[in-house]
């Protein structure tokens, strides 16, 4: 049973979402403020956090950053109000894996949660590939799901890991944003391509890529992204 921590200030929404998620076989803990949520993070040990961005007291974006500071790999789904365009981009750059727009049905939220959780697990592609690949300084362990740069392990969020695994499985191949949205986020073709862009940005930062001349993940203008071994 996936353990879901729901941080949502509105009582009705909190109770409704918690009830619906429990019915979808989730183990749900609910918090009404960011501070309370961060506390429960330690006691409840969730598999995933569903975080409302509009919170009284500590803002949702700060909560997101605080969670990332504690745990790089814990999946986070933001719940945003429609039209808060800026918040989505900042939230994604702060380390959220995905977002949903409220009002959202339990079925959609459940599907998103399960899709994000799947990212932490299996290898998306490349059954014929060796378990461990080395690209220059970068070492990708497809079985142990770890990534190292030189001797340093890099802590990746589930979306970042899955994106890197997907891209590096076919070096040289250009992936469109839509392909990546489907392969990594399990969104449909018309999903938000900013998810891909923000995730690539976070990945490059963690891989210490030079901002102007990335070594591994290249932007192909007008098409998408391509992985290349230096």
């Amino acid at each position: 049973m996936p353990r879901v921590l729901l941080i949502e200030d509105d009582r009705a929404v909190r109770e409704g979402v918690a009830l619906a998620l429990r019915r979808q076989n989730h183990d749900v803990a609910a918090a009404s403020t960011g501070e309370e949520g961060l506390e429960q993070l330690r006691s409840f040990r969730p598999d995933i956090v569903v975080l409302d961005l509009m919170l009284p007291g500590m803002p949702g974006l700060d909560v997101c950053r605080a969670i990332r500071a504690l745990d790089q790999a814990l999946p986070i789904i933001m719940a945003t109000a429609r039209g808060d365009e800026v918040d989505i981009v900042i939230g994604l750059e702060a380390g959220a894996d995905d977002y949903v727009v409220k009002p959202v049905t339990a079925r959609v939220l459940d599907a998103r949660i399960r899709a994000v959780l799947r990212r932490s697990g299996g290898v998306p592609a490349g059954e014929g590939l060796p378990k461990i690949n080395t690209y220059g300084e970068l070492t990708v362990d497809r079985a142990g799901l770890t990534v190292r740069l030189g001797d340093e392990p890099i802590a990746l969020a589930p979306s970042e890991l899955r994106l890197l695994l997907t891209l590096s499985a076919s070096p040289g191949q250009v992936f469109s944003r839509q392909q990546l949205l489907e392969a990594v986020w399990e969104h449909d073709f018309h999903g938000d391509a900013r998810l891909v862009d923000a995730c690539v940005k976070r990945l490059r930062t963690k891989m210490s890529e030079p901002p102007r001349a990335p070594r591994y993940i290249h932007t192909v203008r007008g098409f998408g992204y391509r992985f290349a071994a230096p």
Binding site: D10, A12, V13, E15, G16, V17, L19, A20, R23, A81, R82, G83, E85, K102, P103, V104, T105, A106, R107, L109, S176, R177, Q178, D188, F189, H190, G191, D192, A193, R194, D197, V200, K201, R212, T219, R221, G222, F223
Partner: protein, 489 residues
């Protein structure tokens, strides 16, 4: 253009001033000329007559009576000698005899009327003749004998004098040319004054015109400088007051409109939180409805269904509010439009009900907002399926080579759209008839479609196909010069 310039205030003022100055100068000149001419001629005439009379009084007694021809000639010469310049020509007659001061002179200036007048009257007769362009004075008088009783007797001797008046004419001519010469600077001065006067009027008028034009362009803070206290200053003042009032009422209207729009956005926003709680539990209601008593189950399903519709309506209202507020943002990405349309239809389970004619892969690539394109295609096809009728056909073509445009055509097989409804199909909440009832959507679908196309710089239009059915045509520019969202590189 030229004709319009001539009708301007400045040329009209110049012409008016010129006319006034010309008429005044001409009238003054003509009156002066007439008086002066009469004066000059009268004076010289009086002098000549006086001189002639004095000469005759002096010489007539020496004339033998009755005179012979040689005596008459002698007398004529004598009389003509009275003028030192020698310009006098004298004719003396007595009955049939006549003699002149210049031998052989035929006196063409002497008219029969003068001869008759002199013959019938004892008074002095004179006439001004213009013979051959030369002005001439003709004087005629009879020589009389004075009696001691005071009565006068005609002697029968008649004296005619012809004097050229060229000197006098020269004086008159000089006067005319002086008047003419005076008129030229007078007219010039009038034109200069007219230009000054025109300037005084035209500068404020021009300022007023420019200010009006600026107001028409929407710059309602336009004001004029008010100088002086004349009618034009009053006009400028009135303009400023009108502009200020207009600015205030326009600002009020804008504020009211903004408030109305904000209100719609706020209402949608406030509705969202309760809807978020309700949306979360509709699935629970649907699942459990089967186990409830029939009436309760119906009520629960109703609530669930209507919650979904309400969510959709609020979503659409939020979307429209963002377009109204100018807050809608394009997230451009280069995609294959044919693939996008295929996915839109597949995601809604329409792949089998809709006939498509799409170009081969990668033939229709372009920078668009994929989510908005999905909304456009889904709304148009959804609309066609609901109101039109199968088969619904979707076509995608790419027009042009340099500035390429994608043309998406959605055609249904229904009865088409009535002509009176056609111009309104993209209006918000427009319901053409009772058949298009509430259950078919938020009433904002086509309005949102139109906004989504417009934000791409494209066009959408509705029409009826000659072979039947409604046709919605979307034209989207594929290459845009300005990059709305900078891609990370």
């Amino acid at each position: 253009m030229k004709r319009r310039r001539l009708r301007g205030l400045r040329p009209r003022l110049v012409v008016a001033f010129g006319l006034v100055a010309g008429v005044a100068a001409a009238t003054t000149g003509a009156l002066t000329f007439r008086e002066a001419r009469i004066g000059v001629l009268q004076q010289s005439q009086d002098a000549v007559i006086g001189q002639l009379r004095a000469r005759l009084s002096e010489r007539a007694p020496e004339l033998p009576y009755p005179p012979g021809e040689s005596a008459l000639r002698q007398f004529a010469t004598d009389v003509s000698a009275a003028d030192a310049s020698g310009s006098w020509r004298v004719l003396v007659t007595y009955r049939e005899l006549s003699a002149s001061s210049v031998p052989g002179d035929r006196f063409p200036e002497l008219t029969p009327a003068v001869r008759t007048a002199v013959a019938s009257s004892r008074a002095t007769v004179f006439q001004r003749v213009n013979e051959g362009g030369r002005p001439t004075l003709v004087v005629g008088m009879s020589v009389t004998f004075g009696d001691p009783d005071g009565s006068r007797l005609a002697s029968g001797v008649r004296v005619f004098l012809v004097v050229p008046q060229t000197t006098e004419q020269a004086s008159v001519d000089a006067l005319v040319s002086a008047v003419e010469r005076a008129m030229v600077p007078a007219l010039g001065l009038a034109v200069v004054l007219a230009l000054f006067a025109a300037r005084g009027v035209l500068v404020p008028v021009r300022a007023l015109r420019q200010a009006t034009r600026r107001m028409a362009e929407g710059r309602l803070d336009t004001r004029l400088d008010v100088n002086g206290a004349d009618e034009l200053a009053e006009l400028s003042h009135a303009f400023n007051e009108t502009a200020a009032e207009l600015e205030t009422s326009v600002a009020e209207l804008r504020e009211m409109e903004a408030r109305a729009r904000r209100f719609a956005a706020d209402v949608s926003h406030e509705l969202r939180t309760p809807l978020a709680a309700m949306s979360a539990v509709t699935d629970v209601l649907d699942e459990d409805a089967a186990r409830l008593a029939p009436d309760t189950a119906t009520a629960v399903r109703l609530i669930s269904e209507e919650t979904v519709k309400l969510t959709r309506l609020v979503d659409d209202l939020m979307e429209i509010s963002r377009f109204d507020a100018g807050a809608a943002v394009l997230h451009l990405d280069e995609i294959d439009l044919a693939e996008s349309i295929r996915r839109t239809l597949a995601a809604r389970g329409w792949s089998d009900t809709v006939d498509t004619r799409l170009p081969p892969p990668d033939a229709a690539r372009g920078r668009v907002d994929p989510r908005r394109l999905d909304v456009v295609v889904a709304n148009l096809v959804g609309n066609a399926l609901k109101h039109g009728g199968t088969p619904v056909r979707v076509r995608l073509d790419v027009h042009g080579s340099g500035e390429r445009a994608a043309v998406i055509e959605v055609r249904d097989s229904g009865p088409g759209i009535p002509d009176d409804v056609l111009p309104h199909v993209f209006e918000r909440f427009y319901k053409s008839d009772t058949a298009r009832s509430r259950s078919e959507g938020s009433g904002l679908g086509l309005a949102i479609t139109a906004e989504n196309v417009r934000i791409h710089g494209g066009t959408v239009r509705a029409a009826n196909h000659p072979a039947g059915g409604a046709v919605f045509t979307v034209e989207l520019p594929l290459q845009r010069h300005e990059v709305t969202e900078e891609q990370p590189s």
